[in-house]
Amino acid sequence: MGFSDLVRRVFLVDLIKGLKLTFSYQHPSASYTDQYPLERPVVAERYRGAPRLNNHPESGETLCIACNLCSIACPENLIVVGWARTEDRKKRLTIFTYDLSRCMFCGMCEDACPVDALELTQDFEIAQYSRQGMIWDRQALEEGPRPVRYTR
């Protein structure tokens, strides 16, 4: 044991170093806690949350062309796309259901969509009171989740 080592042990330098570190953690900016219902967390840009079926911003008609590619891409087979032919033999979307209870938010459906109609958004409040509520129909997908905002 060298001299400096002895001094370090007698004056408990290592302990003081530790004390300094914990003291610095008391700075308010060191806190990681979000007070969730009062303040909402900042969600990362590439976060994959609740799915949304996009409408055309001007005409308000759905962007979905009912190609069924998302349904095929889905590893969990939780998307059901239904369509009907119009008189000019075009496919038109009739039903679209998305079972969120089985979704693992892999984003394959989003990647498969050729027209950017299906999209995983940054909404994260997707809890429901029933299993049935987890199966979203076309209307729910277009509106997105509507969580109750906490006010006091």
């Binding site: 914990t22 060191a30 806190s31 990681y32 007070q35 303040e39 006091r152």
Partner: protein
Amino acid sequence: MVQNAIEILRAHPLLLALIKILIVLLVLSGIVAYLVYMERKVLSFMQARLGPMRVGPWGLLQPVADGIKLLLKEDIIPAGADKFVFLLSPAISVMAAFTVFAVIPFAGNFFISDINIGLLFILGVSSLGIYGIILGGWSSNSHYPLLGAMRSAAQLVSYEVAAGVALVGVLLISNSLSMVDIVNRQQQMGVWNVFLQPVGFVIYLIAALAETNRNPFDLPEAESELTAGFHTEYSGFRFALYFLAEYTNMVVVSCIAVTMFLGGWLQPFVNVRALDFLRFTPIASLIGAAAFILWLGLKSLVPLERYFFIALALVCILLAGAVAVPAVLNAVQGIFWFSTKVLIFLYAFIWYRGTFPRYRYDQLMTVGWHWMVPIGLGNLIVTAVVRYLVSARA
């Protein structure tokens, strides 16, 4: 009216003592309750979280909620427990912890009693607290409490030696066992005992941590090994009593350390002219507190809490105005410095808990018997020799 009251108090000194006891008891209970709150807050800040936030503004009512919860809980007495001893032991702990405050001088003009064997009384009574722990652990008729109590007793006894030896060094310097005299002596010498007895101070500090069963010496309640130590089988109000005793002991130990080593109620650097402005620290700290509360309030997310904090800041500023009156400033000087020093000690206790890992049991005993006691004895001998030489020359 006031004259009458003063005359009545003069005629019945016991009444005055009773009033003082009541004040000390009530204020201390409040302090201990909020010490728990402070511990939770400071610890959580050190661990990068916020701590209690939901009960009242910034969780300020958390101690009240905890108290009510503990009072309403079922009071369980384990089958096979020695019922009488089981019921008695928490009371022993609390009484031993609170009795010590009878001789602690909170300020030059505020103490319950000043007896000429003050320190001896403190050491004796606070050691009685061990009975509360070991009887509670034994009477629970359970493994964990028994083992925890054994550890606790062994630890307390071995560190009591080191603490006692460290305190004797101070006694040699101050020539008295009375707590008031010890502080007065430091005033006469113009230097705090901590500068004359730095080794004794450090030893007392470490021994005090061990005696109050705090980190890094909290083996009696090592959760990972013993669930909760000696109070494993206690619930409800009796558990609350143990809790109260433990935190009161923290305050006791800090009070003793402040009185013995850090000049009790004395203002730091009284002799230095240039630092005379320290007299105004009470006003400054109240204004600082007001600013801090205001900052907290403006950051608060709930509108109702914002108003509460602003009102609190106003109260602080009013208090600062009241303290600014010269007569009041002189009166609060002693109690302010004493409580500030004690608060720093209490903060340090929590700080250690947030930083240091727990010792192993054999390490604890090694530190106690192989380091603390021999160093303390060496310090004592050196102090005695120097003291003899100085007094022989004088």
